[in-house]
Amino acid sequence: MLFNSFNFLVFFPLVTAIYFLLPHRFRWIHLLICSCVFYCFFVPEYLSILALTIVVDYAAGIYIEKSAGNKRKWWLIISIVVTCLILFAFKYYNFFASSISGLAEFFGLHYPVKVLSILLPIGLSFHTFQSLSYVIEVYRGNQKAERHFGIYALYVLFYPQLVAGPIERPQNMLHQFREKHEFEYDHVISGLKKILWGIFKKIVIADRLAVYVDLVYNNQEHHNGPTLMLATVFFAFQIYCDFSGYSDIAIGVARVMGFKLMTNFNRPYLARSVAEFWKRWHISLSTWFKDYVYIPLGGNRVSKIRLASNLLLTFAISGLWHGANWTFVIWGTLNGIYLVISNWIGQKHRPVYHILLTFCLIAFSWIFFRAQNLSQALMIVQKIGTTTGGLYIGDPRSLAYGVFFLTVLLITECAEEFKWFNSFSLFANDSKIVRRGSYLLVVLIVLLFGVLDNSQFIYFQF
């Protein structure tokens, strides 16, 4: 079920109302069933795949806790291997098989590949990482193994964050399912505000910009450098508004029910360095890679060469996590290279104009993320660097709405970041009239200018 669908508009209030009406001891069952129903709106059969990893990781958690010495390690390895194998089969098999085939062909060898015609279960990458996070934390002794199968299943299936995160840690989430959440006015209002802002970002900005981006990127051979550059800048904001909009809705939905999910985005395009950008962008994934890949590789406390290779490896894996395509690997590696160079330069206090520089570097890397294949990405880079001409406008209406509301978003974020206008805020204004008037205004803007066609969220494909 999509957060921006009419189904969800009925599902969410209904689930929340029943949640608060039920006695505490039944709430987990209710949430678990509703989470399964939520997932079944995509491809119901794939719920069985998630169930398999749930059973394996639940059992592994208990055995890791019970065992000692090498046995603990083996249980951890078994759990990681099984969970990752499922992800590999669905997401990476075809990619690796065709890459090997391509390589063999390059050397004049015949290596026929049988491509599997299977769809990637929605949210499997997120689900995998959240499951891995659980077994690793149990292994490290930071989290007790969950004995209640239903609570564990709910931890990985909790519907607000099931398909696109935030990727939660067991220490933050598991205990929340045991706590009794009362209906609290402040939680409900702050949750609803977050949902409204997320919907605004997704429907009014991301989906508007997507019209232009898709028109240009799907016909890149017909467009010149300035147009491709504009489409790339728009894509940078499209993906931000799409994904952070999703995260806001997820956090808001959970908040209404009294749950606290981790912050996933913190005005990333106002970062003054690429390192800072990654502390503000998809925080739940960045910290996951830091905790479970980068630090185990040695982190910062190694030689300069080793540090560089750790960064590159972590970001290349992060790229691969996003998608089974070389474009994603290059996207990740490029960000790793930025960080290596940034570490070598080692500037601590960066002036404000570095925000623009950082944005340009990040936007450049998005070309590889958005392009359908490597040759398309290279063609776009080449065209941006070599061709000139007038800007393609496409649908001027969509462009005008998109640019206008993007400007509104940028002003809002800058005002929060730099405390402009004496920290004036519409949603958190002291005046009730201004506050509630602003909620009303945003709802009306969504109705008037939103793209109301239930479009997918970009990160659902991962």
Binding site: F20, E182, F183, V188, L440, L444, L447, F449, L452, N454
Partner: protein
């Protein structure tokens, strides 16, 4: 629910219900204002659609998408057919929109001849979520059933008065204050310049599946025209691409063979339409190309009508 929760819930309702009431009032007032403005539009694409649905009585008409509005030069047809011709094409629209407006117009009057410009991949793509242009006409009994193809829950969504005018504010303002040229030249919208690809390439990602909704709507449209004995010509107009003749061509041929008043012409892959000079882009003829194509097609229609026979190949 405990008493603390109950009081919090009542406090929430005390804020939420007035908010909903205010939202309802704003939605109703803004929606009504937009409806008034929409109905008052004097030019542009909105005026064109309203004219087609409510007023048009032209004997020769073409329906279709942006390819229709750019390819069928009304003045050329009017001159050769010695009768008025109106181009009902609208950008971004496909067969369900075409069927809705054609049916609405045909319920009012009977044209002599109808051309339906079919997109090369017409039946392979769903039109769900693309029928917003019809929403302002939801009270029209002929149009209303077609809105179900725009997605689920349309009846509930239409409880909002703003919803039918979603994303239309600037189009309404442009039409109201005359900044939109859509209704000039009897619906024909010329394109100038030429920027097709350097060489003809195959139409990419051609699929062969059929969207059943579109197929059924198309079938119903053609049967309706057949019942009214209106001569109908299905045309796939020229394209600066090589075109694999898939499901769209098969469907058009099927109906042309089955229905007495329906005929089909396919202008794709023709040598005489491979000149890049006559294309604005790979999918659209420029004014020069439209003149050539319109003259060619009009002469075929004249021959057809005078002989009362099948169209020459």
């Amino acid at each position: 629910m405990e008493s603390k929760s109950k009081s919090a819930f009542l406090k929430f309702l005390g804020v939420f219900l007035p908010f909903c009431l205010l939202l309802f009032i704003c939605d109703f007032s803004i929606g009504k204002l937009l409806e008034y403005e929409y109905r008052s539009v004097k030019s542009g694409v909105i005026r064109k659609t309203t004219f087609i649905i409510d007023e048009m009585r032209t004997p020769y008409v073409v329906f279709g998408s942006s390819r229709a509005s750019r390819h069928y030069k009304s003045s050329v047809f009017s001159q050769q057919l010695a009768d008025p011709f109106y181009n009902c094409g609208r950008d971004g629209q496909e067969m369900i929109y075409v069927s809705a407006v054609t049916t609405a117009a045909m319920n009012r009057y009977q044209p002599k001849f109808v051309i339906v410009d079919v997109l090369p991949e017409e039946f392979t793509k769903s039109e769900e979520g693309k029928l917003g242009a019809l929403l302002p006409y939801h009270e029209n009994k002929t149009i209303r059933p077609f809105l179900n193809y725009n997605g689920k829950f349309q009846n509930i969504k239409l409880l909002s008065k703003i919803y039918p005018y979603n994303s239309m504010l600037t189009t309404i303002l442009a039409g109201r204050y005359g900044a939109d040229a859509n209704s000039r030249e009897n619906g024909y919208l010329p394109l100038y310049g030429n920027k097709p690809s350097a060489k003809i390439q195959p139409l990419k990602d051609q699929e062969d599946n059929v969207d059943l909704n579109k197929f059924h709507v198309f079938q119903e449209l053609l049967r309706n025209l057949e019942r009214k004995k209106i001569r109908t010509l299905l045309v796939i107009s020229p394209l600066y691409k090589t075109y694999k003749q898939g499901s769209t061509v098969r469907i058009c041929k099927l109906f042309a063979a089955k229905l007495k008043y329906v005929q089909f012409l396919n202008y794709t892959n023709l040598q005489e339409y491979r000149n890049p000079e006559i294309y604005a882009d790979d999918y659209h003829l420029n004014d020069k190309g439209a003149s050539k194509f319109s003259a060619d097609l009009a002469s075929k229609i004249v021959k057809l009508q005078s002989a009362g026979q099948d169209l020459p190949e």
